[in-house]
């Protein structure tokens, strides 16, 4: 157990102590104790920066399940360090913010911080694990803790709905990913990601390559809210705002991006990888931004905007794969896609985090998040307004904020697509810059909407549940820090390029940097009159025009009927599958034992006949058969006739008698076939059981004594004939295919020498196979005790009568 492992597990180890603080120190907000954890971790992980920027990696292994190849291997390289810093850094800010956001007297803070720490530990585990099974474990832990956090206000129906939806979708993806992991392991023979990267050629040649890739991508897409799995994210906005800021903008939804980036070295040689990720990401970007415009809830806008931005990063990660198809790094223009992806990942975490916190402040101070009720808050809440403007303009991609730089790089990457001469990128690929352009226009519009509708326009304070005023200082610290970072990264973009971005990019292209080359990351603020700058100017012009005329075209959103929307389909499929399952169950679980007997018998003979036909067992030989004596014919006829006659009896009494006839006939058969013990037992037992039948008949209620002949049902008759024929055929075939001699010779020879007996049947029963007899007498004892208890219990209940029944009813209530 190294310090690194302890660092990963620290949040999980600290979580059990949170309730102690919550219950023990009521006067101090529990969040202050929690805050120590991410701050400590952030400083610890920051200490790794020199190591990774020098191109080195740190690996620490703890043996967990060595026989299964599952080791807890912690692995720090540029990519995982970047994520670890994001998780702990934003985590610290979110905890600080939540201290002022959540009331220590009204909320159950113990739960909140336990879930939050659980999530933080799980997220660190995801990004720092080299073993995929361990990573999967942490991955599901993020799903579970996210489920708990979304449903934090569990009294609200919408919270429970959102929690369930996110759980279903992300766990679906997680399980698909597990399938992919297992497939990859079967190709490489190891769960280690580094082993997989090293054996990338083996994976590429495997026939299951595509299946594994699609399964892994399903996990990444559901987690990162890509189209069409993005629908859980807007509903997850029912969570407390610190949770939305942390999980659903900065960290958890980026787990999918991390996975894609991490698995890039394994898959990115394939054209399918580039195309799938780039097109899904690009469409998600457009769809998210398009839908964000129509939202009236501020968090709804931010949720769809997150979806859109995640799509942007995802498409960049896909396009980055093109870099592999060029030799060397010097003139490699496609490196820009991956650099842009990493840079935008950082930028998005900063501005989206600040925007969410700003929305939380508005919600907290005015009592609503509905943009139709808000307006004119600029003069009342100047600091929040500043944060909102900085965040929104950065999101829109305007200078001098960091969003501008990454947006420029994004547009550059998409415009370069057309000049690639492989994977049909030069023809179909032309759509990508157009979609990117449209998506950027909508991004521009909703970014403007966020602060103009909230802070500008006419003040309608009388409509608000609370009188608005500026938030307390403590609540403003975190968003202001993030806003400062937004401006800082915008003005000095290269502070991070060597320390964080370059090692992260190198982790995505291990094959390119293998020769000792270094990725040159240089983000320049002014890069000349390039096509992407023209596009940005176009975005601003068109966006302003559309924003100005927004009332005229909002109508298009109402054109899509609810049933055809993705949410409608999701709800419909839940209802439908529930109904279908119920209908299916109601159809075959009839509650009548005759139905179940039909299934059993049909299945029995069906399986037997199928096996006989499959193995071609239909060979009947009648060679080694014994002679049939005349009296055996007579007896056989009597037994068969008696059995058949039972079916046609009008009354039950003759049926019982006929059953007795069959039994005594069988006893006679035992006599003929030389089984005196069996004959004796059969005679006595038959007598007893006929007597018992008569007893039951005598005690039958009068209603069912009505003498009706059994109704003839053709289906039942067919099944009976089928089963009879199958069993008959089976016994004939078993007789014809007898291949081994019987063991009875041994008994015959040794019955006197070994067991000192001459009645072989009895010696077998008590000596050779006495074990069976021992448990047969146990069966008999149980049967008698069963009858005894059944009857005794029935009589006591009957004597107490209605009173007992009433008492039972009352206890049930």
């Amino acid at each position: 157990m190294s310090v690194l492992h302890l660092a990963i597990l620290l949040p999980l180890l600290a979580a059990p102590f949170i309730p102690l603080f919550f219950w023990g120190l009521k006067r101090i907000h529990t969040g202050w104790f929690v805050l120590i954890v991410p701050v400590l971790l952030f400083t610890y992980f920051a200490g790794y920066m020199p190591t990774t920027s020098a191109g080195e990696v740190v690996t620490k292994t703890v043996s967990w399940m060595p026989s299964l190849g599952v080791e807890f291997t912690a692995y720090v390289d540029g990519l995982s360090l970047l994520f670890a810093l994001l998780i702990t850094g934003i985590g610290a800010l979110v905890v600080l913010y939540s201290i002022y956001y959540l009331d220590k007297d009204k909320e159950s803070l113990g739960h909140f911080y336990v879930y939050l720490l659980m999530f933080m530990g799980a997220m660190l585990g995801v990004v720092l694990s080299d073993n995929m099974i361990v990573m999967y474990m942490f991955w599901e832990l993020t799903s579970i803790s996210s489920f708990l956090l979304i449903g934090y206000w569990y009294e609200k129906e919408r919270s429970r709905y959102g929690a369930q939806k996110s759980m279903l979708l992300t766990v679906f993806g997680g399980l698909a990913m597990l399938g992919g992991i297992i497939l990859l392991e079967s190709m490489v023979g190891s769960y280690s990601i580094r082993e997989m990267v090293a054996n990338q050629a083996v994976i590429a040649e495997s026939p299951l390559f595509l299946v594994a890739m699609v399964l892994i991508l399903l996990g990444a897409f559901t987690k990162s809210a890509q189209f069409p799995f993005h629908i859980w994210l807007p509903d997850a906005m029912e969570a407390p705002t610190p949770v939305s800021a942390y999980l659903h903008s900065a960290t958890m939804v980026k787990a999918g991006l991390y996975l894609v980036a991490r698995m890039s070295p394994v898959f990115q040689e394939s054209p399918v990888w580039l195309w799938t990720i780039a097109s899904v990401g690009m469409f998600t970007m457009f769809w998210g931004s398009f839908n964000a415009v129509k939202q009236t809830d501020l968090k709804g806008i931010l949720a769809f905007s997150t979806v859109s931005q995640l799509g942007l990063i995802m498409s960049l990660l896909g396009l980055g794969a093109a870099a592999l198809h060029y030799e060397g790094l010097d003139e490699n223009i496609y490196m820009v896609a991956t650099i842009a992806a990493i840079f935008h990942l950082i930028n998005h975490a900063t501005f989206k985090g600040s925007l969410f916190m700003m929305v939380g402040i508005i919600d907290h101070e005015t009592g609503t998040r509905d943009v139709r009720k808000l307006g004119g808050l600029m003069t009342v809440m100047p600091i929040s307004f500043t944060v909102a403007v900085i965040g929104s303009l950065s999101m829109a991609g305007l200078p001098p904020f960091n969003g501008f730089l990454s947006k420029e790089m994004f547009l550059k990457a998409t415009t370069k697509v057309a000049s690639m001469d492989f994977f049909a990128l030069d023809s179909i690929g032309l759509i990508l810059p157009i979609v990117a352009f449209i998506g950027s226009v909508f991004t521009f519009i909703y970014s403007l909407l966020i602060f103009t509708r909230t802070f500008m326009g006419k003040a309608k304070f009388e409509l608000l549940p609370k009188t608005p005023h500026e938030a307390p200082v403590g609540m403003l610290i975190s968003p202001v820090i993030l806003a400062i970072l937004v401006v800082g990264f915008g003005l000095f973009p290269n502070v991070l390029s060597h320390s964080l971005i370059q090692p992260a990019v190198e982790a995505i292209y291990p094959s390119l940097v293998a020769g000792g080359e270094e990725v040159e990351v240089h983000i320049s603020f002014w890069h000349g009159l390039t096509p992407e700058l023209m596009m940005t100017i176009g975005v601003v012009l068109l966006g302003t025009l559309l924003f100005w005329q927004i009332g005229r075209w909002m109508g298009i959103y109402n054109r899509i009927p609810h049933r055809l929307t993705l949410n409608g389909m999701y709800d419909g499929s839940l209802v439908w599958s529930n109904k279908a399952a119920y209908r299916f169950k109601d159809n075959y679980m009839t509650g009548f034992i005759r139905s179940y007997l039909i299934y059993i018998f049909v299945f029995l003979s069906g399986m037997m006949l199928f096996t006989m036909a499959w193995l071609d067992l239909f060979n009947f030989s009648f060679e080694n058969l014994a002679e049939i004596a005349p009296y055996e014919y007579v007896l056989g006829a009597v037994v068969v006739l008696a059995a058949l006659a039972i079916l046609f009896m009008r009354s039950r009494l003759p049926s019982i008698i006929l059953l007795g006839v069959v039994g005594y006939g069988v006893a006679l058969f035992f006599v003929f076939f030389g089984a005196p013990d069996l004959a004796l037992t059969q005679l006595v037992i038959e007598t007893v059981s006929v007597a018992l039948f008569l007893l039951v008949f005598y005690h039958m209620p009068d209603i069912s004594k009505k003498e009706v002949r059994m109704r003839f049902k053709i289906g039942n008759a067919m099944i009976a004939i089928l089963v009879g024929a199958t069993v008959t055929m089976l016994s004939f075939m078993a007789l014809s295919n007898k291949s081994l001699t019987s063991i009875s010779e041994y008994y015959k020879e040794n019955v006197y020498e070994l067991a000192a007996g001459k009645n072989m049947v009895n010696v077998v029963l008590v000596d050779f196979r006495g074990f069976d007899t021992l448990f047969e007498i146990v069966v008999l004892s149980l049967a008698s005790l069963g009858i005894y208890t059944m009857i005794k219990f029935r009589t006591t209940r009957r004597t107490k009568g209605e009173g007992a029944h009433e008492a039972q009813k009352q206890t049930r209530q």
Binding site: P676, G757, V766, T773, L780
Partner: protein
């Protein structure tokens, strides 16, 4: 059972039953002891004994049978199971597998030279269980209303 309240004169049946009872019991004991060499054994023996008891039950009534033979048949079942289990178990104390029977010749007072076999003890367990089971079933059903 419903006609129990009405006194019926069953002198012939009762007299015959008393005589036949002993014949059946002796026959059942013979069946039981002969089991190792000729048809019979604990199971048939037990069934025969209980049929003798049923005969008494028919000729008299269950209360009479209880006073004549005050036996708890559920206890009898348990005893039988214990005997069978004990016979099966004893061999493991001599380092043999479970249910290994042993036999030897013994010189007994009065009976002279006889072969004794632990299998007969096992069969005795079966015998007692069968009687206990049959009588429990018949008594419970017979006494229920």
């Amino acid at each position: 059972m419903k006609r129990k309240s009405k006194p019926v004169n069953d002198v012939i049946l009762q007299t015959a039953a008393i005589i036949i009872f002993f014949i059946i019991v002796i026959f059942s004991i013979d069946l039981f002891f002969a089991g190792h060499y000729s048809p019979g054994g604990g199971f048939i023996g037990g069934l025969m004994t209980s049929s003798a008891l049923v005969l008494l039950l028919l000729a008299f009534d269950s209360q009479t049978l209880k006073t004549v033979l005050p036996i708890d048949y559920r206890l009898m079942t348990a005893t039988g199971l214990l005997i069978a289990l004990g016979t099966s178990l004893h061999s493991i104390f001599w380092g043999r597998p479970f249910l290994t029977h042993a036999y030897d010749k013994f010189h007994l007072p009065l009976l002279g030279e006889q072969t004794l076999h632990t299998a007969i003890a096992f069969d005795l367990g079966v015998y007692l269980v069968v009687i206990g089971v049959t009588m429990t079933i018949i008594q419970t059903i017979g006494e229920s209303e």
